[in-house]
């Protein structure tokens, strides 16, 4: 290739780049966020024919709950298919809406806010009462478990003591930059930086750390990379005393009870099984389940089997 053709090649590359992107985008007309008709048999009792597709978030603890649901349903004679670790709410709820996933364990408050950002409901009861109307047609929510796993803002015990900060309301008096770390989507959530500003008048910098409040987030709090991190309240490490979970007097964060969301046509069939599970699932139990995963390094299937057996459900 001579020098001159090399140069032409560069120009062609540039021109092609624009063309290709245009062409790709042109093919993708229509709203990608709109539920797609995937040709699945949703809406006409898909349950009766195929297996129940159970999804989970890309979060280890959610996968454990999904696995418990899956094994409990299998024990009661249902055929299930696991589609775990799908991603975050925006992704798996779209999959629920288009019928490609039919059951997923959810957290009540965040789910409610996802469909109704302006909701006034805060308590377990109010959220549970508001949810059925908030979710799209074709989806049903079952009764919540006692177990909660909520977003929470955590600082080091040392930081809390030094600055006399034990509540999100105390942050307004703090001079200095406040940096919050959490999953990327938190930055746009009503309980993320926008909520901190609205409810507490606190403006924060945001660092996306993609481990769902895992070891990287905790490390970042400890070493001062971030001032506070979003850790879920059923995280066993919160009991170690390293962190102080900031109180939320304005109830920016809603009650987050574990709540199954299910395709409406399946709801009746799976309710007895899932109600039996949820009746036993307390926050303490959930923390213990998470500890089995994080500390004892067991996989979700083993943890689920052990828990169901211990509770006489298997």
């Amino acid at each position: 290739m001579s020098i001159r053709t090399v140069r032409k090649g560069r120009l062609a590359t540039g021109a092609f780049a624009v063309g290709a992107v245009l062409a790709l985008a042109a093919c993708g007309s229509g709203d990608p966020l709109a539920p797609e008709d995937t040709g699945s048999e949703s809406g006409d009792g898909g349950a009766a024919t195929g297996p129940i597709v159970i999804g989970s978030q890309a979060y280890y603890s959610n996968e454990i709950i999904a696995e418990i649901y899956a094994q409990a349903l299998e024990a009661d004679g249902f055929e299930v298919e696991r589609q775990f670790q799908i991603g975050q709410r925006d992704v798996y709820m779209a999959a629920m809406e288009d019928g490609s996933v039919q059951l997923i364990p959810e957290y009540s408050g965040n789910l409610l806010q996802f469909y109704d950002a302006e909701t006034e409901a805060r308590s377990t009861e109010d959220v549970a009462a508001a949810l059925p109307d908030a979710v799209p047609d074709g989806l049903a929510v079952l009764d919540p478990a006692d177990a909660q796993d909520a977003d929470s803002y955590n600082v080091t015990a040392a930081f809390s003591e030094e600055n006399g900060i034990t509540s999100l309301a105390d942050l307004a008096d703090f001079d200095g930059t406040l940096t919050v770390g959490g999953n990327a989507e938190l930055e746009s959530r009503p309980y993320g930086p926008p909520g901190l500003s609205e409810f507490y008048g606190v403006d924060v910098e945001f660092v996306a750390i993609g481990d769902s409040g895992g070891p990287l987030t905790k490390d970042a709090i400890r070493d001062g990379t971030i001032t506070m991190g979003d850790i879920y309240t059923a995280d066993p490490d919160l009991a170690t005393g390293d962190f102080v979970t900031l109180e939320d007097p304005e109830s920016m964060i809603l009650a987050q009870n574990v709540t199954p969301v299910v395709a409406a046509d399946l709801a009746e069939a799976v309710t007895p099984t899932l109600d039996a599970v949820n009746a036993l699932l307390t926050t303490e139990e959930l923390i213990a389940l998470n500890a089995s995963s994080v500390n004892d390094q067991q996989d979700s299937a083993t943890i689920a089997t052990a828990w169901l057996t211990d509770n006489g459900l298997l």
Binding site: M1, I3, V6, R7, R10, T13, G14, A17, V21, L22, L24, A25, A26, G28, S29, G30, D31, P32, L33, G87, Q88, D90, V91, A94, G181, N183, A184, E185, E187, S188, P193, F206, V207, A208, I209, G210, D211, P215, L216, T217, D219, A220, D223, G224, T225
Partner: protein, 248 residues
């Protein structure tokens, strides 16, 4: 409704300057990781490549090492390194991953450049009384510069594309838009971020293309460096041309 128009609207929204995740900052981070990784890769790979090219030893080892480096999944390395060194040093972890990615191409460019120099030129230099070090730095290295630049170019492109993963360990960069786009299903943001990364790659690619051209012209116009092109045995010279393309 069109994905591309949405992405353009996203890219040109004033929010990209004033809002969270300003473009300039994220582009800066992305470039910084790329440049840093490229420099570290070059510091490792260029001396090693020159050594292999000059002595002609260790080529099989280089191929084997490159294959092994390529088999290592970047996402796995990034997560394990970050977990080990701690998130405060995530940048070290990320740079290490990108260096593993960049070294093979630069190594190949460095050694191929030296190796492709006409042996009769090297022999002539030796006959003139040059030491081996002089031959390497005054003859082989300058003549091999275009191929080395080709290797750097290939490494830079791979690093730019892979630096997307840095967002997952809190390092930002342009990957943040793709990560957010995936979590929030915001296709405008995702495509906008992807377009920026492709553009960045094309610009860097073009800069290296220019540098390669300048380097080749400099070699061609230096009469004292070896024999004129036309006198070189034909197969070798075409081989050199094609080598140049292969490196890219």
């Amino acid at each position: 409704m069109n994905l591309f128009l949405d992405a353009l609207a996203w890219l040109t929204d004033p929010e990209r300057v004033t809002g969270p995740n300003p473009l300039a900052e994220r582009i800066g981070e992305h470039l910084w990781y790329t440049v840093l990784a490229l420099v570290v890769s070059a510091l490792i790979a260029v001396p090693l490549g020159y050594l292999i090219g000059h002595t002609g030893k260790g080529r099989q080892l280089a191929v084997l090492g490159s294959g092994a480096a390529r088999a290592l999944p970047s996402l796995g390395l990034l997560t394990i390194f970050t977990l080990i060194v701690g998130v405060g040093n995530a940048q070290v972890a990320a740079i290490a991953v990108f260096v593993i990615l960049g070294v093979p191409s630069i190594l190949a460019g460095a050694y191929a450049g030296v190796e492709a120099v006409d042996r009769s030129v090297v022999d002539a230099a030796r006959a003139m009384g040059m030491t081996e070090t002089q031959i390497l730095f005054r003859v082989e290295a300058p003549l091999g510069l275009p191929l080395l630049l080709g290797g750097l170019r290939s490494a830079a492109l791979q690093i730019i594309a892979t630096a997307v993963l840095a967002a997952y360990v809190g390092l930002g960069g342009l990957g943040i838009y793709i990560q957010r786009g995936i979590s929030l299903r915001t296709y405008d943001e995702m495509l906008g971020g992807a377009i920026l990364i492709v553009l960045l790659a094309l610009i860097v690619d073009a800069l290296f293309a220019i540098a390669e051209r300048v380097a080749r012209r400099a070699i061609g116009s230096a009469p004292s460096r070896g024999r004129p092109r036309s006198e070189r045995p034909e197969p070798l010279s075409t081989d050199r041309q094609s080598t140049l393309e292969e490196i890219r």
